[in-house]
Symmetry: C2
Subunit: 290 residues, 2 copies
Amino acid sequence: MTRIERVAVVGLGLMGGSLARALAARDVHVLGYDSMPDSLDAAEGEGIVHERLPATLTGIEGADVVVFALPVDATMSALTRVAPLLERTRLIMDVASTKRTIVDTAEKAGLGARYVGAHPLTGSHRSGWRASRATLFDDARVFLCPTRSTSPESLALAEWFWRGLRTGVEVLDAATHDEQMAWRSHLPQVVSTALALVLQHAGIHRSALGPGGRDMTRLAGGSPDLWVSIVEDNGAALDAALHELDEELRRFRAALSAHDRGATTEFFSSGRDWFDGAPLEPLTARAPGA
Amino acid sequence: MTRIERVAVVGLGLMGGSLARALAARDVHVLGYDSMPDSLDAAEGEGIVHERLPATLTGIEGADVVVFALPVDATMSALTRVAPLLERTRLIMDVASTKRTIVDTAEKAGLGARYVGAHPLTGSHRSGWRASRATLFDDARVFLCPTRSTSPESLALAEWFWRGLRTGVEVLDAATHDEQMAWRSHLPQVVSTALALVLQHAGIHRSALGPGGRDMTRLAGGSPDLWVSIVEDNGAALDAALHELDEELRRFRAALSAHDRGATTEFFSSGRDWFDGAPLEPLTARAPGA
């Protein structure tokens, strides 16, 4: 595998900033851009970004690998706009939380063969450059979603890139990824925020919660911009998951008002069984042809 | 304040076991009972329980302070049954998560003047003696709920007892406590379990979740017995809280299906505002006459 010398990171928030830090720590030459001058100044000042890019991203042509680390909608508009500058880039990736429409957009922009959508299943309720850290990806799981035309070489390079950052890599069809994330990630996020709003209306501050309540509302601190773009992009699958939650809660409330102790016992016991359960088979599948 | 020499702890699970450990570490003579002989053996073997009580609790008369550390319903039946042995006990308490029906039961059992309901706002999804630890109460908040006839001396002794365990103490009317806990504790628990069940039905194991999803489902690992007795005892208040959550989720789903980006932005932004918000005034009130 040829060494990757130069990587451009577009967006230096929690994900992009952490990626830039992890790359710089591995002696990669990092080209960076962020729409907030303060973040870019800080990244350059700390020696993480070695070469700053302008808003036009002119100069990005010099990177072997380009990674977009932006909200879902911003990723799509950026990669469409910048595509003409990426004709010789070996590998183009993004790290947004939904993948189907992004890899379709990359395909349409003519980048399909060299594009791999990536989704590191890590994060924080904190956001922005100041929340970034070089260890964010350590031991995280990263989903890689090829386009319809991703070349085997590009996919292999993407796997090598993420393994080099100490992540576990799973290759997954983009539509399957998004469907899975509706349950595994987007549902918990929406529930956490809804719980936060209920507590807000009840006049209860987070500091009044015990450790369990604080865990349950930590995700509510996440970036609104990021989450709006995620739920917009994956609305149908998320709605199906929310429907199932609604059904569970409806059944529980019926049991509660009927004083049906058997049913409430079943509710909590099943939840604990799941919590205690043995690991299932991985839910992922290799991408067709991968 | 007279020194407390001997404390009986009835129930040596997470709460009672941790209490026994914290007391033993402070050179208190601990009398202990648990319905599981293994737990009682272990507690005695580790030198935490100095004197084991039989199932009848004969011998509990020798304790200055008695603490019931049982599920809500078991607390009520135990204190009714044991009341004749507690005629000279200085202070009787429990540590269950709901307080209104328990303090009423204590009053009816003739223990009102010397009874104080306690609820340490701490815990773990783990349960049983093996989950107990001497530091469980360090810096935790403890709610103290007097009966209608708790004497000022008993309440003062209870406050002194819990402060000695490094907890922050708030005195609170039992009905207000239970109403508050429906929102602050019981709602998050039910939501966590409901989320666990949805994921179970979707075939998703907890190990497939990211850090946020794992936080959101940690409470689902809690003891079913404990939670059934809590929700049974506080059903009406909990149902009201669940109704509000249902409304929030319904509004979110309507915004999602209408692609109303303004409304989804408002949803996530309000949640983050609450998360970031300045501490409110304490929500507690001094008990009448306290």
